[in-house]
Symmetry: C2
Subunit: 286 residues, 2 copies
């Protein structure tokens, strides 16, 4: 991986910025360039030491590694042009939260073998260059899709990087990834946003309701702080799977409402009791 | 508050046990008695040093302070008998999560003035004596209801205890309390339980889905670890308010689903953007 000397990060926010911070530690001899639609973010990233220089798409021919960490609909649009622009030694790594459409976007591209589709299961509810933190990826899962389509020498280097980041690798089909991630990630965000909305709407008429909120509410509503500019494209790209999971969630809530309405407290108890084993499932996650 | 020499805790779990642990520090000369329907919990609480002795309802005539921390439907049933049993120097403090029905249950009781209805906004997703921890209540909100109905000398002593626990006091009407707490606490639990259920149901057919779960999912689903024996009575006692908040939540989720289905991504964005100011609302909560 020492061959990665010129590293370009497209989209210098939470994920791209955090990855740059870690790679600077792992590859101290490399130079880091940032490309971003937001010039203020580029200046901020240079100021914070997340990257060395701001740059432009035209300079990508110098790249040894390109990290694509922009909103997922933009990634689908830009990826073919990024592959067009790089030389044969470069690896292009996409780290967005949906994988089906981005793999489809380059499936017939002549440089498909220089592309690796990845999804690090890591993040916080914050965004922008100031949200970039070191060790965000340590001991987290990295999902890789269609690795058989990536050139072996480039995949080897990528694996060295992920090992240096101390990540746990899993291999998945991109469409299976999108189906499962709708449940364990995308749905949580909608559940949290709409919980926040419901309570805020109530609070408009009833003052000081939030003085009564405890750590339980704070935990459940935490993801409602997430960036809509990141999440709108995710819901757009993964619409069918998200709608499926959301429909099942609404059905389960409606069933709970119906049994409570009918005073069937045995069933209310069972609904919760049967879900309690989430304890053992989540062991180790925090 | 030094007059609190014999302290009886009815229900020696997360809340009652944590309160006992703190009071032992604050009132080192007092003796602590536990009463619980579960004998194993009593033995465990003695073994852990949460209480000094296990005891029985018949001994309550010796009590200077009784802390009622049992499921809320049980509290409504037992409270009149507890008041019947205590002498005139005793304060009976209820710390359950609903306040309307427990206040109603003793409104005409001849010893109503020895009762104080309270709700500490503190807790974790764990339960039983082993969940009892010190400093659970520090810097948390304590909601007090109908304080004007509690005898002044007993209220003074209670306030000294809450001050020693470093709690922030708020005064509320019990029915307003129940209405607001449905939104900021009870609804979060249902949202979390049903999220857990939705993902577990999916996982039955699709293996290893939880390998893909990150800290965001863990945070949103944390409350699904809570004890159904605590929460079923809460939903029962606060049924009307919980149903109202749950109906609004389901309506908001359904609206989100409809705009996503209609490809109205501007509205999808706005739904999230308008909820983002939960950030500033939640400052200081964690």
């Amino acid at each position: 991986m020492e061959e990665f000397k010129n590293i370009f990060v497209l989209g210098i926010g939470l994920i791209g910025g955090s990855m740059a911070r870690d790679l600077r530690r792992i590859l101290p001899q490399a130079t880091f360039y940032g490309i971003d639609a937001n010039d203020d973010h580029l200046d901020e990233a240079v100021g914070l030491g997340v990257i060395d220089h701001s740059s432009r798409i035209e300079a990508l021919s110098q790249a040894d590694l390109v990290i694509l960490s922009i909103p997922v609909d933009q990634a689908n649009l830009f990826l073919p042009a990024v592959l067009d622009a790089v030389e044969s030694q470069a690896l292009v790594l996409d780290v967005g939260s949906t994988k089906g459409s981005v793999c489809d976007a380059v499936k017939d591209h002549p440089k498909r073998s220089q592309f690796l589709a990845a999804h690090p299961i890591a993040g916080t509810e914050f965004s922008g260059p100031s949200a970039a933190i070191e060790y965000l990826f340590q001991h987290k899962t990295m999902i890789l899709c269609e690795v058989e389509q990536t050139r072996e020498d480039l995949l080897d280097k990528a694996m060295q990087v992920f090992e240096a980041l101390e990540m746990n690798i899993r291999y998945m089909n991109p469409h299976s990834h999108d189906k499962h991630i709708a449940y364990v990630s995308h749905l949580s965000h909608i559940s949290s946003f709409m919980l926040g909305k419901t309570v805020i709407e109530k609070e408009k008429n009833e003052k000081d309701i939030f003085d009564m909120a405890g750590s339980g509410f704070a935990s459940t509503v935490r993801l409602a702080k997430s960036n809509p500019a990141t999440w709108t494209p995710i819901f757009k790209e993964n619409k069918a799977n998200v709608l499926e999971s959301l429909t099942e969630y609404i059905n389960n809530l409606t069933h709970f409402k119906n049994v409570l309405e009918a005073d069937d407290f045995e069933e209310v108890y069972n609904e919760m009791h049967n879900t309690n084993h989430i304890k053992s499932i989540l062991k180790g996650l925090s």
